[in-house]
Structures are given as structure tokens and as C-alpha cells.
Symmetry: C2
Subunit: 142 residues, 2 copies
């Protein structure tokens, strides 16, 4: 992803392009593995050592608010963020904090078809996210 593509994302949403926003959005995209605010700050400080914690949190909120990133659900007291905006699923490792994306159109269609047929009374489905929980096998660990 080029730097210009990142600033275009901000411009499209009517957000001012600032070095902080560029760095944070770039960090989430580059880090790629559902980083925490802490992970993002650590990454950014290499090139941008003076960024403020409060700015990071405010920028993250603004990016979520403007649909440039998403929050990831966890059962920990730490928020994680995701730059992949297409609706997708997650693989959760049950003995570490690793979270991987899982994109599978066949599954999406299977689910869509299922809930077209079997409606939930008084409920309008907007999104379906499967949490796939289990263990990564040690062979050839990523």
C-alpha cells in the first residue's frame, strides 16, 4: 500500500491529513495482525518518537468512526484494531493472543443462504462473523 493511497483514504472521509493519522493508519495496515494501541505506538515511535498516547487513542476512535478501521472483539481488557474492512472472519488461538483473518466466500454464501431461509424473529441481520477458536499446529509455525 502506497503512502498516497493511505492519505486518499483520509481525504475520502473528509478527515484532515496529519502525520499522526498517516502513521497510525499505516501502522495498522503494515502490522497487519490486529494490533493493540500499545503495539501501534511502539511501531510508530521508531520514526515518530514524540507522538502522544492521547492522540493515538483519539485517532483510533476517529478511524473507527469513519469506517477506516474496525475494532476486534476479544475477551481481554485490551482493544485491538483491524485494517481489513471487508466483512471477514477471525481465527483465535486458544493459547496465545494470535488472531488471524479468515476470508472465505464459500462460507459467506453458505451462511447468507442459511439465514435467508431461517430468519431470526424481530431481528435484521447486518453482519455475520464467525469466531474460529482452536490451536495452530506447531509444524512450520508462522
Amino acid at each position: 500500500m502506497k503512502i498516497e493511497e493511505i492519505s486518499n483514504k483520509l481525504i475520502e472521509k473528509g478527515l484532515r491529513v496529519t502525520p499522526q493519522r498517516m502513521a497510525i493508519l499505516e501502522a495498522i495496515i503494515k502490522l497487519n495482525n490486529h494490533p493493540t494501541a500499545e503495539n501501534i505506538i511502539e511501531y510508530i515511535r521508531k520514526n515518530h518518537p514524540h507522538i502522544s498516547l492521547a492522540t493515538v487513542y483519539k485517532v483510533l476512535d476517529a478511524l473507527v468512526e469513519n469506517s477506516l478501521i474496525k475494532k476486534v472483539k476479544t475477551e481481554k481488557d485490551i482493544m485491538r484494531y483491524d485494517a481489513l474492512m471487508e466483512s471477514h472472519h477471525h481465527i483465535y488461538c486458544s493459547d496465545s493472543d494470535r488472531i488471524e483473518d479468515y476470508q472465505d466466500n464459500e462460507l459467506n454464501e453458505l451462511l447468507k443462504k442459511y439465514f435467508d431461509k431461517k430468519e431470526i424473529p424481530n431481528f435484521k441481520i447486518e453482519d455475520l462473523k464467525l469466531h474460529i477458536i482452536g490451536r495452530f499446529l506447531k509444524t512450520g509455525k508462522k
Copy 2:
């Protein structure tokens, strides 16, 4: 659920039966809608006004540790708990904090069959939880 059933759950796990544990486990079962620690304390204080916050958190941990309750994933900085231990899915309301259980064996079998066929490389699935996100319709609101 009778009071004796609740103490039996504790005894089966080798946990000592204390009034605090009874009250907390009963609260989660009775409240039924994925309460927060705060919700639980508020409920319990009616009959048990002197329980300590620290105790509530410690008991919740012990109950999770011993598989008597589960943590519920949210994208908020507040933990929620669930007394329904069978593997099940959740309906998340996108404009409130409401979370409802969704139990559907047909869906479970569909998913199981799907992932028996389509394996994820180097990954052993232990559980599948669908997050159904959307809106409850106002008609006959619960």
C-alpha cells in the same frame, strides 16, 4: 434452577461452597443476559449488601477457570459473563449493549460439516461461534 443445583455445580468442581460464590453464580444464571461485574454486584447487593468488589472479581475468575461460566467477547472495555455453558452463538444488537443467546443445532451441523470438508491448514478447530450482528425490530420489543 434450584439452590441445591447451584451448590452441586461448585462441589463437582471441588470448589468450596460459600455464600458469595452461591450468590454470584445464582445472579449470573438468573440475570441471564450476559451481565457485567457491575450488574452482578447490583443484583447481589439486594440480599447480600456487604459483598466486596474484589471478591466478585475473584469469584468470577474462579468460575471461569473451573468452566462454570464463560467470558463473552465484546468490543467494549467491560467484561461480560455467561452461564450457558453449551457451545452457542450470540446475537449482538448494533445500537445497544443487548446480547442474546442463539442456539441452533441445524447451524452447528452445517458448520461442522463445512469445516470437516474444508480444513484450515495447520489449525485444529476447537469451537465455532457465530456473532450475529444487527438490529432488533421495535415491534413487540422484549
